[in-house]
């Protein structure tokens, strides 16, 4: 640790300790009928951390969690760094094969797993791992609660943090290669993006945040740490259930939630939808929300703040700041303005749109370029993958792979995705990964997967398949084949058979396939 009187390493765990001191009796976590105060949460987190250490955790050990948005998941976001470990949050929708790949890649020594998700890992060889089961009952017979109760608790666990640039968490994303990429967040970045969330969405001690966004996704965009920074209340939600969400809006006086447009569409379209008396502030991201959707939300008093980012940028890095001039515009025009991606948040560097030589494109709202980022809200790199990291950071900026225009006022607006990534319901799908699954079928000669627009999920994968000479297979059989290898949300929505369009050098022209599917639209992302 540094010995400077005037420097403390930035650490989101400190946010919890402070709220436990200044708001001891405030509710930190609400889950069904359960209430956990900040004072109680700090003790639970210290018990969790003390158990990890007592069971042999050493500095930098990876602790994986396969949990829904429940108290144990929120607590892990503090307990693992408090213990000196690195938190690995697993996407609860992944297949056993995908989970095994990630657990092997990160070398986790501990795994917390919710009973309902146990089947996803039951068949894996977990012999080398300490498993903590979580029943999410909060009662003494819940193995997680028993584990906490048995901890050698003696108050705050002493921090081992020496440098705020140490890794606090690894978030796996499928990436373009189909191989899992472990995005490393630092203590510094996590703390700073947590503060940016507070400022951009105006969280206060009176806020009640509904956990619609999965905490496994970019550490819930760093919101677990944002809430602790201000002493706000986290309202847990095991699964996205739109009727339940409308109930909680009122019974828990929800003031904030976040989610991809898919979630917003479900909320807006539910029979319980009605204009709320108090506004709810909503972070909307993942794919650009349509002006129509934004207008519908505003009509219900769901006030969207449009943000944009990637796993590599701690979740949201840009925000479209509301402008005074909007109030004079028709709602549709306002919404079109809101749907822009904006600019870097208060703790980010401003983002750029560049050409292939890393030169800024003209700020004309027309010239396409790639969005590149740098600064405190960019990941430290990919875990154990220096080459991938070097490639992503070429030229000293992180390459998003997203294609945008740069408006004269400095805001950016996405137009297409350069990388072969499909974003469906807020989750990344690597087209290459889907292609590899298809190609592993003996009848398939070659294939190409592109995104197609989908009203509910934003985008879904569509596969174009050429079969081997003489071979035959049905679309249904190929989909069954994929199901054995991929998470459900990655399965193609449609399969078309036939020859693939190619360049003279034999490269598949994906743009031609996309053109076919997206013809007539201004943007090639949804």
């Amino acid at each position: 640790m540094n010995n400077k009187v005037y420097r403390t390493e930035l650490n989101p765990v400190a946010f919890l300790r402070r709220s436990a001191c200044v708001y001891p009796d405030r509710v930190a976590i609400s889950h069904g009928a359960r209430r956990i105060s900040y004072r109680q949460m700090e003790e639970r987190v210290d018990r969790f951390a003390a158990q990890l250490r007592a069971e042999g955790l050493t500095r930098g050990d990876r602790v994986a969690v396969l949990l829904p948005n429940i108290p144990a998941m929120a607590e892990a976001h503090f307990a693992v760094p408090a213990a000196g470990g690195v938190l690995v949050t697993l996407n609860t929708r992944l297949s056993a094969f995908e989970l095994r790949t990630i657990l092997n890649h990160c070398g986790a020594s501990v795994l917390l797993v919710d009973d309902e998700l146990w089947p996803s890992v039951a068949d894996l060889d977990l012999a080398k791992m300490r498993i903590v089961r979580v029943s999410d009952t909060g009662t003494a017979d819940d193995p997680y609660e028993a584990w906490l109760a048995g901890a050698p608790w003696t108050g705050p666990v002493e921090s081992w943090l020496e440098d705020e640039e140490e890794t606090i968490s690894i978030n796996y994303t499928s990436g373009t290669t189909g191989q899992p990429k472990g995005v490393m967040y630092t203590y510094r970045g996590a703390a700073l993006n947590a503060l940016a969330n507070v400022i951009e969405t105006r969280l206060t001690a009176e806020s009640a945040y509904l956990w619609t966004l999965p905490m496994f996704h970019c550490n819930g965009w760093c919101y677990p740490w944002s809430l602790a920074a201000v002493g706000a209340r986290a309202v847990c939600l095991r699964r996205v259930d739109f009727g339940r969400i409308w109930e909680l809006f009122e019974s828990e006086s929800i003031s904030h939630y976040c989610g991809a447009p898919t979630v917003q569409i479900g909320i807006v379209g539910h029979p319980s939808a009605r204009r709320l008396e108090r506004p709810i502030t909503i972070g909307v991201a993942a794919a650009p929300p349509s002006p129509t959707l934004l207008a519908q939300m505003v009509a219900l008093n769901l006030q969207p703040t449009h943000v944009y980012g990637l796993t590599e940028t701690y979740g949201p890095i840009t925000v479209r700041e509301p402008q005074d001039a909007w109030s004079d515009m028709p709602l549709e025009a306002q919404s079109a303005q809101r749907a822009q991606q904006g600019q870097g948040n208060v703790l980010s560097d401003l983002v750029r749109v560049v050409d292939l030589n890393m030169v800024d494109v003209p700020r004309d709202g027309e010239t396409l370029g790639e969005v590149v980022m740098r600064g405190n809200i960019v990941m430290k790199g990919y875990y154990n993958a220096p080459e991938l990291t070097g490639d992503a950071f070429r030229g000293g900026w992180f390459h998003s792979g997203d294609v945008a225009v740069w408006h004269p006022d400095g805001n950016i607006e996405l137009r297409d995705r350069k990388k072969d990534i499909i974003i469906s319901g807020g989750e990344n799908i690597s087209t290459i990964e889907v292609e590899q699954a298809l190609a592993s079928h003996p009848a398939v000669l070659e294939c190409a997967v592109v995104a197609i627009p989908d009203d509910k999920w934003g985008e879904r994968p569509k596969a174009f398949v050429t079969l081997k000479e003489g071979a035959s297979v049905s679309a249904e059989a190929l989909i069954t084949h994929c199901r054995q290898r991929l998470a459900g949300f990655k399965i193609p929505a449609a399969i078309a058979f036939g020859p693939l369009p190619k360049t003279s050098t034999g490269k598949v022209q994906k743009f031609a396939l996309r053109e076919r599917e997206w013809g007539g639209r201004v943007k090639r992302i949804n």
Copy 2:
């Protein structure tokens, strides 16, 4: 500069650049009929910085400003660091003698001075300094405006910042020795405390902040940078005029201001005082506000947030967070709760109350100890004074010199001041400095100065003087003598003649004098 893609040095100048990008047309500064947008402010700041460099400023050069709360003062808070200089804000109430001492100590190469304050420095030897006069008219014939207009402006000035722990500003405080102490703020600390202000007083892009607190005081508690972080509006004020303040509350839709209790008393007691329709959020500090005053403020819809700090802690470091339970209390009891100093803000370490061996005192609300601080909201040290710095940082914590109790809930509450500092109208007065001025009179044998309670100013100095045998001098003559050496607010409110109470070893027992003046009060500070 570091070459890490994932790290940008924290720098409050970036807040201005971002707001100029995302809120270009929003008003950044309002001053009488003048309006400066964020886009304009960025250009003015870059012109200012470009001129400093064109005139020879090199990295780390000190740039002093003797300015009221006017646009040039706000701009200096960005332009000087943008140029790579160190900002030295001079207390506008100091005497020529005091100003000379500080200018010599910091070795400023540039001085910006307001026409009205010119007499304070006119007689000094300023030959080695570049002087920029400021008429505060905003018109082309204002020498400051002409200076900006003549700048070699080519857009944003390239930053020279390599490390966020570099010094951004020096704030002089009189300290206990009577010698000026230059408190160094870092870029990191300034940025982080600016964000803490945003979060603690809930500043947003719609906020309008009235500049009642002098910007020369702890860089206005870092609020110039807080306002830029969110794109809020600064409303300037050349002098504290309570009638004008009430006018501006409405004409400028003021949402926030800060000030010592003295200022609050003036506002609350003015004939224009009336309950406001919209609440104003107010940072109150310097001396603990009385429950009576806090209750009066609440009645007018002036919502106080009580903060506490010193020049060495960037202004406020602690905040008394409002508690849910207060709403059930009688107003007087609530106010007594609010008047506690609370705990470290969201970006500070928690503060401690310790005994002489640096051991925590019991959290019993009774045992007295010294308040000590450490972390990102503590100064880097005293400029060119390593011994003073070492003493202030002994034991690895900054010693405030303030005496407090520690409550069972973790909050601290001030009870006395260990150091010989008097806080009068929010300004520090060194008792030793006043004693030295008195002692320089040929008739004075010895003297001791202590604080006495004052309804308007909080505290004022009272002098106890023993004359040399056979000598005689009137109280009036001694005060005239002091006036030639000290700023007006440091002049004793009263002088008593006679022998001083002493210990057996001959040390003056100041506590006995204080006992005489403060007898019957629970606290020895006001």
